[in-house]
Symmetry: C3
Subunit: 475 residues, 3 copies
């Protein structure tokens, strides 16, 4: 048999029988806890409309998921043949079954990958399909999924309930009016969905569409953004709006996590050059470093938890970027340094208990070298879970291995699924819970952690740490 069916109930645990047994026991104690999802990219519109549907199996599982199509592309399969829309509206494959067949024909490429693991979980558990996915079974599975997706119990709100999601935080541009969130709240539906404030599109001066973003922020906030002072005012207004809609956090992307306070005059001058389209030299980096300081200051004041996701060189492949746009699997990490870059921010705000700063990295060398020591000293700092390429079984093992000894468990932020693929959420949390249980079992059997302590820690790992880190109310 060829494929990914037959999910073992002991999957991801160490083969050694005693460790396996203890891991299973720890896992079982949290397997059914509600899901806390404090950071991700699910579209809130899915839940705004009671009757929303997910579309075809290909529209659900392939076309929007850059984890999936980048792997196919890496083996020479054109994105057009997978139905990925072109920016110029040029022709791409429309036949959903054909797209699905290509995917199934190449599903072997995902052997040993987290995407393979998640998809196996989704097919088997979310869609109750026990066939292995391959060329021969592709169409039968497609039909099965299509039938599922047509059923009312596969509407987004129903899956949200079935997945037992306690809270789901979305990521929303600073200029977003949060209409979907308002609709959800107004609908009377009990799903707990919260926005997250992400200002990258206006504070990173090289963001695609920066000027247009500024106009949108202008309109959303009612502030005419003619100066940096007005930009800051507009951001503060929008933060308050987000907070009133349930937001507990902000999110910031930085290629390099530089922080530094500029003189008001210099900061304003850069902003004016940006308005005139006359940026020079290091303007962009200096400005974003300054704005991270401003954002930390605002977080101290309004209590929104600050997240920094650093080190992704976006849109590495300009051919793909120009034809298909952002988020097409062509973002490549770079070496990142935090110790010096964050020093100005941490010296100024890192001792203040009102600030909570959660750091994410794509450069695992920083775990033990920089991030764990920072989180293990500064009251403000927590270390986010393994991110993106490292949101995987090995990534989690390396994270536990390199972080906990120095930072301790309680300077970490639990788990984020960070996904735009809604039906993969249970799979991702399941991987984390299993990896956590297996790690704890190993610690107990090596006499490092007491079994009774491990029983508490697995509950923290499954949900408690994330709740606390993001200042989310317990249910």
């Amino acid at each position: 048999m060829n494929g990914t069916s037959e999910l073992s109930s002991a999957r991801f645990f160490d083969p050694e029988p005693v460790q396996r047994r203890l891991a299973q026991q720890l896992y079982d104690s949290v397997a059914n806890l509600p899901i806390v999802s404090p950071h991700g990219h699910v579209d809130p519109n899915l839940f705004a409309d009671e009757t929303a549907r997910f579309g075809s199996p290909a529209e659900l599982l392939i076309i929007p998921d850059h984890y999936v199509f980048r792997m196919l592309y890496s083996q020479g399969i054109p994105l057009e043949s997978l139905g990925v829309p072109r920016l110029d509206g040029g022709p791409v494959e429309q036949d959903q079954r054909k797209i699905w067949q290509i995917f199934a024909d190449h599903f072997y490429l995902f052997r040993g990958t987290p995407t393979g693991v998640w998809l196996a979980h989704e097919l088997s558990i979310v869609f109750d399909c026990q066939l292995p996915l391959n060329s021969a079974t592709a169409q039968e599975i497609y039909t099965h999924l299509e039938n599922c997706l047509a059923a009312p119990e596969f509407q987004p709100r129903r899956l949200f309930e079935r997945f037992n999601i306690e809270v789901l935080c979305t990521t929303d541009a600073a200029w977003d009016r949060l209409e979907a969130h308002q609709t959800i709240r107004a609908s009377g539906w009990q799903g707990n969905i919260r926005p997250t404030f992400r200002p990258d599109g206006v504070v990173n001066l090289d963001a695609p569409g920066w000027k247009a973003n500024l106009d949108k922020l202008n309109q959303a906030s009612g502030i005419e953004i003619s100066s940096l002072a007005r930009l800051i005012e507009a951001l503060e207004i929008q933060r308050a709006h987000f907070k009133s809609m349930g937001a507990t956090a902000t999110d910031h992307a930085a290629v390099v996590p530089l922080t530094q306070m500029l003189s008001p005059m210099e900061a304003e001058a850069i902003f004016q050059r940006a308005l005139l389209g006359e940026l020079s030299g290091e303007d962009i980096q200096r400005f974003s470093g300054h704005m991270l300081m401003e954002m930390a200051r605002m977080s101290v004041e309004d209590g929104l938890v600050m997240q920094i996701h650093a080190g992704s060189l976006r849109n590495h492949n300009s051919i793909i970027f120009e034809r298909f746009g952002l988020d097409k699997g062509a973002d490549i990490p770079i070496a990142t340094q935090f110790s010096r870059n964050l020093q100005p921010l941490l010296e100024r705000f890192g001792n203040d208990p009102r600030l909570r700063l959660i750091l994410f990295t794509l450069d695992e060398t920083t775990y033990a070298r920089e991030l764990a020591p920072l989180a293990g000293h500064y009251p403000a700092v927590l270390l986010g879970p393994p991110w993106w390429f490292h949101d995987s079984l090995n990534g989690m093992r390396r994270y536990f291995d390199q972080v906990i000894e120095t930072a301790g468990l309680y300077n970490t932020a639990g788990f984020n699924d960070d996904t735009r693929a809604f039906p993969s959420i249970p799979a991702r949390h399941d991987v984390w819970r299993r990896a956590s249980a297996n790690w704890l079992a190993g610690q107990v059997l090596q006499g490092i952690i007491q079994e009774a302590d491990a029983a508490e820690m697995i509950v923290d790992l499954a949900a408690g740490l994330a709740r606390r880190a993001y200042r989310l109310p317990s249910k």
Copy 2:
């Protein structure tokens, strides 16, 4: 007992009995497959002469092997006492048994090292010598090896056949006339030995003997290399010659894998300065970055697979370099970055399925951070196996651990032995096959990979991936 005899048939497998059993089963299925050796440094002259011999045991196993003598040197043993020839022809130890005795006296230094593992395999399996190597057994083992090497079945061609080598690719300077390769072909012997085109000595302007190399290329190609355009012409002629002799690949060393297209005027100007011996500032790096672009362009055109081996700071120890020359164990790796450095080349050629670019690193931090994401996106990129210091059991484990989740197995290039030590080839491939089997067994037992899939993957790992990566015909 002190030494390395008693090769266990389950060596290198996890101690856990169930994993060990499955690893053994996977390994057994490929243990006898032919060896595909697509990249290495064996001297083709060994096979050009039907009657060639390997020399003394010390000449075979110590004097030419910098993996061996660097370790002895690190403990204060002069290279002269090991018979390593001096450039000035000064006196070095000539007594082969004395050299061997020093080696045996210090063989404990290799405990836990790949060199120790390979030598144990060679002694036990290639030479059928089951004594452990130490001070007491040194001379008896020497006699045994001497007797072996005198026997006809230890002639290079006979070992090639006994090793079941399907194909062996050598590495040859761009100006090589491939006379040894021609002799092999003309001899009617069926051994499949192919050259690889390596132009470093002329495209790296600081290569030792650059001017002399250029003259040799001039003579080999028949092109008077008075300009960059003529250099490129000469390289193209030689590539065609290599290809006609069976080459399927090129190889490029770069301290820093910078790529960038210069203007024709600038590139030519640098080349002219090099001819005049008037290089300045960044000329060398800019020129090699430009030539990597040219080489990629040629690979797109002629289909030769392009390899880049990056990040070795050669000849770190000038005392050793001046006395003994290149490749004396004094090459020290440095931190390497690929994401930005390769962007110009990948943007231009990385989407072209005609290009195949295999990347090698000595900086393992780039596996998960840069190389796996690049290989998991660009159609042209494959990731080469663990290289040099990392061609080891732990190196392989770290490679599987850090690469496969993001790149998938099918964006890797299988195994290279990369050796100049011909009798170590079976040992090196055996380590890889065992490490692969053990890794797959762990994946299966953790429920990540299906057992039936693993049975296919081990065959790919043992030979299939390398064949495909290097565009080598299946037998």
Copy 3:
């Protein structure tokens, strides 16, 4: 039960029964060997006075230990409430039982950390206290410890003897007159305590109190330090003094391990600028790079083993530094490169068997990439054990994993406890011996190392390598 009691006799060994058994057997063979402690920061005054005492449990285990209070601080507990003295003499908690209670209330923070592991060992084995430490047991344990510390068998010299310490090397400023060491020697007590020469405070021109340090060196050496030449003379005098008092080593901290010989004129000019308080640009780094060359030259001449500890960015948090001073848990590592930085020193002295240079890193990426290749080539270089944040079970596993294959065991320097927490010394060596035994057991069971060899290697790891590396006489 909640805490860290119940030390398993098989702690830190792999759960797999066969490996566990072999690890136990290897460990048992060295568990009672004397402790060789060639590098650390224990105060020699503890042993100068026959009647010295350790103070309260909080004064012993919390207030001086930045490993402990940084973790509490990271969770928002003010250092004042832990009794850490303020530089300005401002009020801090004086109630030792209150401090202890806070510690116990938060002892769960240390789950899975080396500090947790060491404290568990200290309580259970050094103080024979089998209660788990938590809020409820805090005061009872405090009383128990207080009683212990009042007993004569807990005087420092008695614990030194009970710990079976063969030799303990302290770290002493270049200007130290070594009076405590002299008192120890004069007392007739047999404890073998040796100083180590540390000149950072005068050779790093930005060292806090540099000018005052220079004055002290002036007084200690009797040399008026008006020029670099006189500084070097003074250092040489003090080195001779240290050597006469039993020192076998020097120690050097470097943020960046740059080495380079300056012209005498430039070096002198920088020194004169330092005297005038007129340092500019790269003066500090260039000068320290030059002084490392001078120190290596002196080591060649006087045979003192040279240690370099690189890559710690000291006093990252200026609020903490200004209020509490140095060594308050706010030192954060940075990426470090050795290959290029050490080249000038190694080219000049690295082939000289009179030099022994032991390298320490906080950047584990350099283990396999740079340090193991350097140690595996240069006769002068040994690689120090996992340092500081990496002096932990995982840190040791990663070290063995990444270092031994390339450097071999015999280019490493055994173990250092590097601690100022005297009662943690047995715990730290126990962790190392157990980690070593477990690593060797794994190597044996995987057929990489012969069992008889492992039996020798565990003895080297436990004590022999450290003795040899630091040129300490065997007892």
